[in-house]
Amino acid sequence: MADYNTMELMICTAARELEDGASIVVGTGAPNAAAMLAQKAHSPNLVILFEAGGAAPLIPEMPISVGDSRTTWKALMASGMCEIMETCCRGMIDYTFLGGAQIDMYGNLNSTRIGPDHQKPKVRFPGSGGANDLASFCWRMLVMTPQDSKRFAEKCQFVTTPGWLTGGDSRAKSGLPLGAGPYKIITNMAVMDFEPVSKRMRIIGVNPGYSEKNVQDNCGFELLKAKKIVENKPPTAKELSILRDQIDPYRYVIGR
């Protein structure tokens, strides 16, 4: 078994979710690394888009901004925010990767604030950016995040970005496009999906070296468990070499 760190494990696990021919809107950092890895390892026809306007570039190295020149390097189109978001809203985009300071059992995300006073928050974060839009419009939202019981919170102090809202059919009733929503949560310990009726987060796979108990102990709410929980496969030597040599040679993301 190859040696790897938790960031490499999460990126490799995430990349396997992206099948050839699918489309995805990504941000910078780990999600970008996962999309690039998928494209180089097994999904050469993965269409990668950036919210600022870059469409289907041949990304030479990881962008530092979703609007920098690397996002249009040998791209098919340099467009704008409305073009990308409307392509999502029209139903053409399969995946997006998001994250946040807090995530709850329905996959709702907080990237706005900590503290009760909105006009004078204890901690102010960037806000939605394009996250709320992408989670509303893209068919499947993926989250890649380290797992601890503070981040996996009973309740988000602010729901910036919609998951399954309050579970059940609440999202369907909200007015958001039908059929889109959180799909999988990929952490350093496990992979979770959402139970189809209650829309609650559920363990479906545990990473090598972790137990179901570890996963529950590092979560601020009760996780459901799939009937059969698999042991996730570690990164392969091929995945690791692409990630380390071609995608992130300066270890900006995988060195974290």
Partner: protein, 330 residues
């Protein structure tokens, strides 16, 4: 039509298109030179209390010279559209220029991390905020550009982002489903950085466009900074390249390297070293004050700022990086 639900956030600008039309009726259509310095443009068109928008994407094709000049001239009590804003937001926070803010993306510089000073300012309670998203603000500009009061969209419903916005939900007259109505946003003044403009303000842009073309049309007053001036004959030679027509524009300022330290598509890459230094120095408010004196307050203009940070040698390196970034890394 009655709203089904309504956010509690304030709307800082009037979305009424008839009031905007009354203003645009008075806006000059004269084909005359609008060339002036950034200093003059800001003196003339940016006032205390105005609602401001800056184009580009945070640190990509951003009108940095205008942002610095606004801080240098000490504008206060402005409204601001925190739409995809990163380094531009950091600059305005340094001058505590605004106290009303529409938030889509603020405080962060994407993969570079969060700005300590912007966070301090946003956690001080001095700024009144409404929450939106990048797309929400994009369609608010789009509605204004189209001369209508709102734009229907399918985002934000069911979230606190909606609750703290000034949007409303309405019933679709065709399908009966719910839509969110985003109110038109007509900025008092905006600044955009472009690749090329003639002296009248007919502009060409390369690379990604973000929401700039709608911002240009939605704004009551518009300052263009351009990498270079080109002739009107060149514009007329092939009008298919024109993305902003001169009648939207009030000032044209020739500012080569005007997006520095940001990235400019097909011109130069961002100066990551300088942005890193900026983020680091913000950790200590006293050091940051000295840094601002050096880089903004004591500078006559954008070129003096560039001179102090490596001048033409630095710029040539950034040009190389933009064109050869496959191999030209620090």
């Amino acid at each position: 039509m009655e709203a089904i639900e309504q956010g509690i956030g304030k709307i800082f600008t009037d979305p009424d298109p008839d009031k905007a039309r009354a203003f645009f009726r008075t806006k000059s259509r004269k084909l005359e030179s609008k060339v002036m310095s950034v200093k003059e443009a800001v003196e003339k068109f940016v006032h205390d209390g105005d609602y401001l928008t800056l184009g580009g994407f945070g640190a990509n094709r951003v009108p940095i010279a205008v942002a610095h000049e606004i801080v240098r001239q000490g504008r206060k009590n402005m409204g601001f559209a925190g739409h995809t804003s990163t380094h531009d937001f950091q600059i305005l926070c340094a001058g505590e220029v605004f106290n009303k803010l529409d938030v889509a993306y603020i405080v962060g510089l994407e993969a570079r991390g969060l700005s300590p000073n912007a966070r301090r300012y946003m956690e001080s309670g001095k700024v009144e905020v409404s929450e939106w998203t990048n797309y929400s603000l994009s369609v608010r500009f789009k509605a204004a550009a189209a001369g209508v009061a709102f734009y229907p969209a399918r985002n934000v419903m069911g979230t606190d982002t909606f609750k703290y916005s000034g949007a409303k939900t309405i019933e679709c007259p065709f399908t009966g489903t719910k839509y969110v109505a985003h109110p038109a946003l007509y900025p008092d003044v905006s600044a955009l950085h472009v690749h090329e403009s003639d002296i009248y303000g007919n502009c060409r842009v390369r690379g990604i466009t973000v929401s700039d073309f709608d911002v240009a049309r939605a704004s009551k007053r518009l300052i263009i900074t351009t990498e270079r001036l080109i002739s009107n004959e060149e514009i007329r030679r092939d009008p298919s390249y024109t993305v902003i027509p001169y009648w939207c524009v009030d000032a044209v300022c020739e500012v080569p390297y005007g997006s520095y330290p940001g990235n400019m598509y097909a011109e130069y890459f961002s100066d990551e070293e300088h942005i890193r230094e900026w983020l680091k120095v913000e950790e200590d408010p006293e050091e940051f004050k000295k840094f601002l004196d050096k880089n903004i307050y004591s500078c006559k203009d954008h070129f003096e700022y560039i001179e102090k940070n490596g001048g033409m040698h630095k710029l040539l390196k950034l040009r190389e990086k933009e064109f050869m970034f496959l191999k030209a890394r620090d």
